[in-house]
Amino acid sequence: MKNCWPDGDLRAYMDGELAPDARATIAAHLEDCSACGARYRELAERAAWVSAVMDLSNNAPAIPAARPRPRRWLVGAAGLAAALAIAFAMLPKRPPEGPAQAVAKAVVPPAPVQTAAPVVHPVVHRPAPRRQEPGEEFVRLDDDPIETATIVRVSAEDGALQADLIVGPDGRAHAIRVVRNR
């Protein structure tokens, strides 16, 4: 068969990942070549099947009702704080300036997350005494809408490293951001 296309190109064509000229060439070829047409259908059926199997598995409950683990978000938060602690521990530190003061600044997440009466729990008892670095944005962890949320600040090390978590009524963290003090 002349000018037949390998599986990889047919697969990329299926996903719309080819340049327009290659796409048009393959489309024309599939009109004329029954072998490539059959091969394309086989690849498409397999891709759809694999996608369906993986999507079904993804419907597993995040927190199985049969065996809930309360305050699960804390586990991830603690792990992240530990991770960030190491990152910041690597950075050169300036000596603290002035007396320690509580840092419990409420932060407003980007829409559509709405925080009603945000409650800040400053876990930090020895927060870094310098100003908060502006411009840190929350990283959304899912697209679940939540009506109310609590902003929880976690910290590690000597307070030089902090992160804010937006925790929904389900007890899960829905967004996170690194808070750095200068």
């Binding site: 390998p6 599986d7 990889g8 190109d9 047919l10 697969r11 990329a12 064509y13 996903d15 990942e17 690849l43 397999r46 891709a47 099947w49 694999v50 996608s51 369906a52 199997v53 993986m54 999507d55 079904l56 598995s57 993804n58 419907n59 597993a60 409950p61 995040a62 927190i63 199985p64 009702a65 049969a66 065996r67 683990r69 699960r72 978000w73 586990v75 991830g76 938060a77 792990g79 992240l80 530990a82 991770a83 960030l84 190491i86 990152a87 690597m90 950075l91 840190e136 944005e137 990283v139 959304r140 962890l141 899912d142 899960r172 963290a173 996170i176 690194v178 750095r180």
Partner: protein, 170 residues
């Protein structure tokens, strides 16, 4: 880019995706967050000056491999827990049965992914998280023109192994 900036940039760009991807693999959001945090912990230990694209690819490989390792080590415990759950569940409750079925589906996929070559499992997980071919090429450190053929091969291998174990059942 100083050390703070490169870590922040990678965190903002990839943390949520890594958690979602691991959540898909693990079927457990909390465990996904733990593994993602550990991967970023290891990322922070990487030397300054490393190429950002290399670090990104490295991050995803570490996260997925840690997830697959966890799946393998969890499998025995999970089976034990599932038997306990099944024993305690009222078999006449449709909700309980559906939950067990969903968990079983998830574990089948986990077992098959864990049995694949790491590169194939990485490809399928990253693609199912919605990553483009360009992103796949950068993350996996391959030529963009090779993504289609690698994806097709990974899907073929996944289907072959899944059907060998479980037939055509979804």
């Amino acid at each position: 880019m100083n050390p703070t900036e490169w870590f922040d940039a990678l965190f903002r760009a990839h943390y949520a995706r890594v958690v979602r991807m691991l959540g898909r693999l693990m079927g457990d959001r909390g465990q996904a967050e733990e593994i993602a945090a550990d991967a970023f912990c290891k990322l922070a230990r990487q030397p300054d000056g490393a190429d950002k694209a290399d670090l990104t690819a490295w991050l995803y490989r570490v996260a997925i491999n840690a997830g697959l390792d966890a799946v393998r080590s969890n499998s025995r415990r999970k089976r034990r827990e599932e038997r306990a759950t099944a024993a305690s569940a009222n078999s006449t409750e449709p909700e309980a049965l559906e939950r067990l079925l969903t968990e079983e589906r998830c574990e089948r996929v986990q077992r098959v992914l864990a049995a694949l070559k790491p590169r194939d499992a990485q490809m399928l997980l990253l693609r199912s998280s919605g990553m483009s071919y360009r992103g796949l090429a950068e993350t996996l450190g391959i030529q963009p023109g090779s993504v289609g053929s690698m994806l097709a091969r990974a899907e073929q291998e996944f289907e072959r192994r899944y059907r060998a174990r479980y037939g055509g059942r979804l």
